[in-house]
Symmetry: C2
Subunit: 317 residues, 2 copies
């Protein structure tokens, strides 16, 4: 038996390092990926997930999250939840319910309160100020207001052979109230089957839900494709199809892992991710679309990491 964990974006890395230790120590995959996502939700400088996330156009931070157990197919999800410190934990608790396991808006927030989850104002001063400035900019320059949709998605495999996936996102910055992307939607934002593997997505939710790519990647792995071949086939195939049929394809990036801890990534934008398994320590990689529907993957450079660190903390105004 082996273990593995992969997550979207550079922001997932610190949580992933801690979660990979849990998996090595024979901890359960659900606990490991929940801890991993919570670390991203809790960090105030990640502006698209949890605390510090950027709000909707009304200045309200609405969040989406999901959890899926690959042994039982149990799914829990929340969409448009407010005030919950850790939406992923709320989603995981919901996954244990036979009925009412996906809850949205006020009903989701009510559940979190009633179930005793920590709640509070999740809007940081930095996020509020970013929103204010963006409102001004949009007004002045008649800009398209939408920007930023970096969901954290994590797939894990534990030493008992169980797999699970979790996602968390504050969605599109400046979204309309109640807008929901792919992150809490089964098949689009995530899917996992412990007898095959799991996949999760980040990018423009409106376009991701047109393709059900997480489900499709898991299915292709089930047909015997390697994770990388499955990701390439599903993602670039749909990228071309969407350009032909819809005229354009929004940004999307998918990661996947199979039950051996092997992984794959495909993306139509510049994308970072972090991954670890029995044979490789946690490391951050950079991915982009290559030629002939393949993906170019390289280790991240020290320069890139330093610039990232500076960028996420740079003063607002």
């Amino acid at each position: 038996m082996t273990w593995g964990i992969i997550g979207t974006w550079r922001m997932v890395h610190d949580g992933l390092v801690a979660a990979s230790k849990m998996l090595q120590e024979n901890k359960r995959v659900g606990d490991a990926i929940e801890e991993c996502v919570k670390a991203v939700e809790d960090y105030p400088y990640y502006k698209s997930v949890g605390y510090g996330g950027l709000p909707n156009e009304e200045g309200i931070l609405e969040m989406d999250a999901a959890f899926m157990d690959g042994d039982t197919f149990e799914i829990g999800g929340v969409a448009g939840i407010v005030d919950a410190k850790n939406p992923v934990s709320v989603a995981r608790a919901l996954s244990k319910q036979k009925f009412n396991s996906f809850r949205v808006g006020e009903g989701a927030t009510k559940f979190a309160r009633l179930a005793g989850f920590e709640c509070g104002n999740m809007l940081t001063e930095r996020a509020r100020r970013t929103w204010e400035l963006r409102l001004d900019e949009v007004k002045k320059n008649n800009l398209n207001p939408y920007d930023g949709h970096d969901t954290v998605g994590v797939i894990g495999l534990d030493l008992s052979g169980s797999m699970a996936v979790a996602t968390s996102s504050s969605g599109l910055f400046m979204k309309k109230a109640g807008r929901v992307g792919d992150s809490p939607l089964s098949g689009s934002g995530f899917y996992v089957d412990s007898e095959i593997g799991g996949a999760t997505a980040t990018g423009l939710g409106e376009d991701l839900m047109k393709g059900c790519l997480s489900y499709e990647i898991v299915r292709l792995m089930g047909e015997g494709l390697s994770p990388q071949a499955a990701a390439d086939k599903a993602v670039y195939g749909f990228h071309h199809k969407l350009r032909k049929r819809y005229g354009k394809a929004g940004a999307f990036s998918l990661i996947c892992m199979n039950l051996k801890g092997e992984w794959g990534v495909a993306t139509n934008v510049d994308f970072t991710f972090s991954v670890a398994n029995e044979s490789a320590a946690p490391a951050i990689y950079f991915a982009k679309m290559g030629q002939n529907d393949t993906t170019v993957i390289e280790p991240i450079t020290e320069e890139w990491l330093a610039a990232y660190e500076k960028r996420i903390k740079q003063p607002i105004e």
Copy 2:
């Protein structure tokens, strides 16, 4: 070129008769299926869709709906919307938006008002009384309160070769506030590709989203399976898988149609549907699970129809 339309449950029939005329007269599929679903939403005696739908445990009628265009993959959806007279029309309007095309809770209701859709109290006196009685029953007998989740789902094909699908539901009777099922979720509640065909689901949303069956049926039709073979394979395959892995499988019924107007149905409960195409006038059928993962389909009897008519209108108390 040919046309066709298929919809879930006996309740869809009258709207489907009108919509099939529209398709025969070379009207666009989006208009035809929207009219079909609106007819179900408007009829006060259908207790799981639109006006007359049964409320959540707090007595609030929260509704879910979606619309997908099979030419462009455009999707619009609402979940947990209140007051909207025709959720399907709100969903269709959202499908035209590049961003913010899936909206939930208060944000969905806000959109409907702002976009000028007719709004009002959708709770009928009959639905309120049914809810009141159920509350008493549940309290007295310590019953499982959940019951009834008959989504209307319609797939259409027009003479220009375009396909579309729409769904509308008030969800599980007595659901928790903000609970959302599969109806507004791409891949689970519906999927359509005009170059292949479409599929839509009704049943226990919590379980349907574990399987992404609408997407899977369309995919199988794309591999060359007949609609009936695709429905049987996806539905019974997942029914068995879910019983093995989750311990049980909730009720689910799927219908599908391909780009030739041929159709298929599979279900693990007693299920009615209505269908019409160039070679067959609109008719209601009864379906149930047969032996060896096949579906038994029979025309509905006059006796069944008379009993149904009586049942939906029987006095409350």
